[in-house]
C-alpha cells in the first residue's frame, strides 16, 4: 500500500555532484545508499538526472525511483541548474512497502550467467539481494530473512576478514552502463572458510540504466586464502595469479569478453538498426579492445601452462608444409586488409616433422601475424621450407623494417615489445612461441638487419 510522506524536500549539488545540502529524508537515503557527508550523491538515478539537467542547462521535472531497505520510493523531482551546481526539489515522495518476492516470479536473472558458476546471486538495481543460490552446505545457514532485500555488501563479510562490509559496486567515473565486468571481488560467507571469487554482470534495461545485477560465485580451494595471506597480497602474488589464471580467471574472463565482442560488433555493425555514427565507432572500439583483451587472456593462459612444472608438448607426426598453408589461409583476410600477399608452400609440398600440431600452428600464426603487423602495405610475406641434418624448418620472412642485433637479443624475452604499442600485442607471443618450440625438441631463431626485413625460423626434428 502506498503512503505519502514528507513535504517538499530540497537538496543542492555542486557541479561535480557533491551533495552540499539535503533535507533530512534525502540525506538519510543518501547515507543508507553508502554515501557520506560531503561526498558525491549516492543515489544514481537522481545524480544522473542532475547531471543531465546541468549538461542541458535546462530545468527538468521528472519521476525517479529509489529504494531503502524496506521501501520502494517514487520521487518526483524538479531540478534547476545554475553556475555552481543544481538545486533539487522533491515535490512528491511516495513510499511503498516492498513485497516479499514470489519465488516463482521471474526477477530477470540471466539463466546462462546463473548456470556458469557454483553460486549465484541476483541483485536489483539498488544492489539488494533478490535471490541467493548457493551449495546446500552453505545455503542452509542462511534463512531467506537474513538476505532478502538486504544490500549485498552488508550481507557478505569482507574477504580480508575485517568486520567492515565490502564496498558496494560503483561504476567508475565517466563509465556508462555496459556489458563489461564491473569489478572482481572476493568474499566470504559467514560461517564458511572458503574464499569465493565473484564476477558481476550488470543487466541493462530501459534508458540504458542498470535494472539489476547477476553475481556468479566460484569457490577457491580451501586454504588458498591462508596460503596467500591477505587477499590483496594474494591477488598481487604473481605465482598465485599464474596458478589462478589457467584454472579460473582465464575461463571466467573468456565468457564475458566473448559477450562484449559479440554485442559490440552487433552494435558497430548496426545489425539491429541505424545508430549514431559516433556510438557505432565507440562500439567498434569496444570490440577491438575486447579482442585485444581476449588475446591477452589466451596468452596468459598459455604462459601459465608453459611455465608450469613438467610442461611438455606432444611429439606427433606433422607436416610443416600443410601447417604453413593452414596458417597462411587463416590469416589471408587479415593480410589482404593490409594489402599484403602471403607466398605459401605449394599444394604438393610436404615436409614431415615431429611436434604438436596445435602448438606448431599457434607458433606459425604468431609469426605470420607479427609479419602482417610490421610489414608495409603492398609487401610480401614468404613461407619457406627446408630440411637439413635431420632437422625440418619453416621460415616466415617479411619485408618489414628489420631489427638491430640489440633488438634481436631482447626479442624473445617475456613482455618484450621493442618499444612498440597500439598493435594489440601483449609482448608474450614470441616468448611463448620459443618456449613451445623448445618443448618440442626444437628451436625458434631470428635473422634480421635494419632495413632488411626479418626471417623467423622454426626448427623441429625431422619426421
Amino acid at each position: 500500500m502506498a503512503s505519502i510522506a514528507h513535504p517538499p524536500v530540497t537538496a543542492r549539488l555542486a557541479r561535480d555532484g557533491t551533495l552540499l545540502h539535503a533535507d533530512a529524508p534525502l540525506m538519510r537515503l543518501h547515507l543508507e545508499a553508502g554515501g557520506r557527508e560531503g561526498g558525491e550523491l549516492a543515489l544514481p538515478p537522481l545524480l544522473a538526472l542532475a547531471r543531465h539537467s546541468q549538461r542541458l542547462a535546462m530545468r527538468l521535472s521528472r519521476g525517479i525511483s529509489v529504494a531503502d531497505s524496506r521501501n520502494r520510493i517514487n520521487l518526483w523531482c524538479e531540478l534547476e541548474p545554475h553556475g555552481d551546481g543544481v538545486d533539487i526539489r522533491v515535490r512528491d515522495w511516495r513510499e511503498t512497502a516492498l513485497d516479499m518476492p514470489d519465488t516463482d516470479q521471474d526477477d530477470g536473472g540471466n539463466a546462462a550467467v546463473r548456470l556458469s558458476g557454483e553460486g549465484y546471486v541476483r541483485l536489483d538495481a539498488d544492489q539488494r539481494i533478490l535471490r541467493l543460490e548457493l551449495p546446500a552446505e552453505i545455503d542452509r545457514h542462511f534463512p531467506e530473512s537474513d538476505y532478502l532485500y538486504r544490500p549485498w555488501h552488508e550481507f557478505f563479510a569482507a574477504a580480508d576478514g575485517n568486520s567492515s562490509p565490502a564496498a558496494p559496486l560503483k561504476a567508475r567515473e565517466g563509465e556508462t552502463a555496459s556489458w563489461l565486468l564491473y569489478q572482481l571481488h572476493r568474499v566470504r560467507f559467514p560461517g564458511d572458510d572458503r574464499l569465493w571469487a565473484v564476477d558481476v554482470f550488470p543487466d541493462i534495461g530501459a534508458d540504458r540504466q542498470v535494472v539489476g545485477h547477476d553475481m556468479v560465485l566460484r569457490a577457491e580451494p580451501i586454504g588458498a586464502a591462508a596460503r596467500a595471506g591477505r587477499v590483496t597480497d594474494a591477488v598481487l602474488d604473481r605465482r598465485h595469479l599464474a596458478r589462478l589464471f589457467g584454472d579460473q580467471i582465464g575461463p571466467a574472463l573468456r565468457q564475458p569478453i566473448g559477450r562484449i565482442i559479440a554485442n559490440a560488433e552487433s552494435i558497430g555493425g548496426r545489425l539491429e538498426g541505424p545508430l549514431r555514427s559516433d556510438y557505432a565507432n565507440y562500439a567498434t572500439d569496444i570490440a577491438e579492445a575486447a579482442r585485444h583483451l581476449l588475446t591477452l587472456v589466451e596468452d596468459l593462459t598459455d604462459l601459465e601452462a608453459i611455465e608450469s612444472e613438467g610442461f611438455s608438448a606432444a611429439r606427433e607426426d606433422i607436416d610443416l608444409a600443410d601447417l604453413g598453408r593452414r596458417a597462411a589461409g587463416l590469416l589471408a583476410v587479415r593480410a589482404g586488409d593490409h594489402g599484403i600477399r602471403i607466398d605459401r608452400p605449394a599444394e604438393d609440398e610436404i615436409l614431415p616433422a615431429l611436434g604438436e600440431f596445435r602448438r606448431v600452428l599457434q607458433i606459425l600464426l604468431n609469426l605470420i601475424g607479427n609479419a602482417i603487423n610490421y610489414a608495409p602495405q603492398g609487401s610480401m610475406i614468404w613461407i619457406r621450407l627446408d630440411e637439413q641434418d635431420g632437422k625440418a624448418s619453416i621460415t616466415v620472412a617479411d619485408q618489414g623494417p628489420g631489427m638491430s642485433t640489440e633488438q634481436q637479443s631482447r626479442l624473445f624475452r617475456k613482455w618484450e615489445r621493442l618499444g612498440r604499442s597500439g598493435d594489440g600485442g601483449s609482448g608474450l607471443g614470441l616468448y611463448i612461441s620459443k618456449r613451445l618450440a623448445e618443448a618440442m625438441g626444437g628451436e625458434l631463431v631470428v635473422e634480421s638487419a635494419p632495413g632488411q626485413g626479418a626471417r623467423f625460423t622454426l626448427i623441429l626434428p625431422a619426421g
Partner: protein
C-alpha cells in the same frame, strides 16, 4: 545580429539556393533506401503528411522568432535544418497519428479527444496533487487539439532534450553558413532554453499523471475510450521503456505486430491486449482482419517478447543523428 564586413541574408540568390540544397541533400540516402525496399510495408497518409509539414513549418517560425531571425533569414532555411532531424520527424509523425487516433476514437466511445474517462474521474479526486495533474492534462490536451485543428505546433510539445538539440543544431548551422553574430545568437539560444519549462508540456503532464496514478500494468483499464490515446501510450511507454513516439508510429505498421509484441512483453492478458489493438485499429480505420488472433498473441514467448523489446529499447532504432549535448556549442559552464 549580422556581423559587419560579411555578406548576409540568403534571399533568393544562388548561394542561398545552394545552401538549402546542401541541407536537403541529407535526404538522398533515405530516398534511395525507400526505392530499394522491394515492397513498402508502410505508407504515410496524406493527412498525416500534411499535418507533419504544417507543424514543421510552425515550429520553424517559432524558433526563428525566439532567435530573432525573422526577416533576417529565409524561413525555408530553418525548416530545412529541422527536417534533417530524424527524432523530430518521428515526433511530428507520432503527433499526427495521435491526433487522428483521438478523433477516430469517438467511434469507440471516447467522447472528446481532450477528456478521457480516467482523466475526468481524477479531476474530482480527493488527492489534490492527482486532481491538479488531471486538470493540467485536460488543459494541455485541449491546447493540443486546438493546435492540430489550426495546423500549429507548440514548442511545449518538445521535451527539453529535443528542443536543446534542435536549437543548437540551428545555431551551428547558422554560424557555419550564415553571417550572424555568433555571441548574440548563442545568448539568445541560452536564454530560450533557460526559460523553457517542461512542466508546461503535454507529454510531461501525462507522465506526471501516470506517476501519481501509479497503477500496476495488470490493473490498467486497457480501453482507448477509458484512457485516451495520449495517456494509454504514455503508460505503455513508461512500462516498456520504449519512447511513446515510437509506439505511436508502430500503429502505422500492418497487423500491428510490433505493438502486439510490446503488449505481450508487459504480460497484458490476451483479451485486454487484443481489445486495445482493436480499439486502435478502429480509431485509425485499419483493417481489423489483419490483427493478430488470440493464438497468434499467445504464441509469442514471453522471454522472446521481452528480449526483443529490450533490444528495441537499447538501440532505439529511430534515434536521430543530432547532438544530444552540444559539447562544442552549448552554454559556457
Amino acid at each position: 545580429m549580422m556581423a559587419s564586413g560579411r555578406s548576409g541574408g540568403v534571399g533568393s540568390d544562388l548561394l542561398g539556393q545552394a545552401l538549402r540544397l546542401a541541407d536537403n541533400a541529407m535526404a538522398w540516402p533515405e530516398l534511395l533506401r525507400l526505392r530499394l525496399i522491394p515492397d513498402a510495408a508502410m505508407t504515410i497518409r496524406d493527412d498525416d503528411f500534411a499535418l507533419v509539414s504544417a507543424k514543421l513549418h510552425s515550429l520553424g517560425e517559432q524558433l526563428g522568432r525566439a532567435l530573432e531571425l525573422t526577416g533576417a533569414i529565409d524561413p525555408a532555411r530553418i525548416t530545412a535544418v529541422l527536417q534533417g532531424d530524424r527524432r523530430l520527424l518521428v515526433l511530428l509523425l507520432a503527433r499526427a497519428v495521435e491526433w487522428r487516433m483521438a478523433r477516430g476514437a469517438s467511434a469507440i466511445g471516447l467522447v472528446s479527444p481532450e477528456l478521457s474517462a480516467l482523466v475526468e474521474q481524477q479531476i474530482g479526486a480527493s488527492d489534490p496533487d492527482l486532481a491538479e495533474a488531471a486538470m493540467a492534462v485536460l488543459v494541455s490536451q485541449s491546447r493540443f487539439s486546438s493546435a492540430c485543428l489550426s495546423y500549429r505546433f507548440e514548442i511545449s510539445e518538445l521535451p527539453p532534450e529535443d528542443l536543446s538539440r534542435l536549437v543548437w543544431r540551428l545555431v551551428s548551422n547558422l554560424q557555419r553558413h550564415i553571417a550572424f553574430e555568433p555571441v548574440q545568437l548563442r545568448a539568445l539560444a541560452e536564454k530560450m532554453l533557460g526559460e523553457f519549462d517542461e512542466r508546461e508540456g503535454r507529454q510531461h503532464r501525462l507522465a506526471r499523471l501516470c506517476h501519481l496514478l501509479d497503477l500496476p500494468i495488470g490493473a490498467m483499464p486497457w480501453k482507448l475510450a477509458e484512457l485516451g490515446p495520449g495517456l494509454a501510450f504514455e503508460i505503455l511507454a513508461m512500462a516498456s521503456g520504449l519512447p511513446a513516439n515510437q509506439l505511436f508510429v508502430m500503429t502505422l505498421e500492418p497487423g500491428l505486430a510490433r505493438l502486439a509484441t510490446v503488449l505481450r512483453s508487459l504480460e497484458i492478458e490476451p483479451s485486454l491486449a487484443l481489445g486495445l489493438l482493436a480499439d486502435i485499429a478502429e480509431s485509425l480505420s485499419l483493417p481489423v482482419d489483419s490483427l493478430p488472433s488470440v493464438a497468434d498473441y499467445r504464441s509469442i514467448g514471453l522471454g522472446d517478447a521481452r528480449s526483443v523489446v529490450a533490444r528495441w529499447r537499447n538501440l532505439d532504432a529511430l534515434a536521430g543523428e543530432g547532438l544530444d549535448y552540444p559539447e562544442n556549442l552549448g552554454p559556457v559552464r
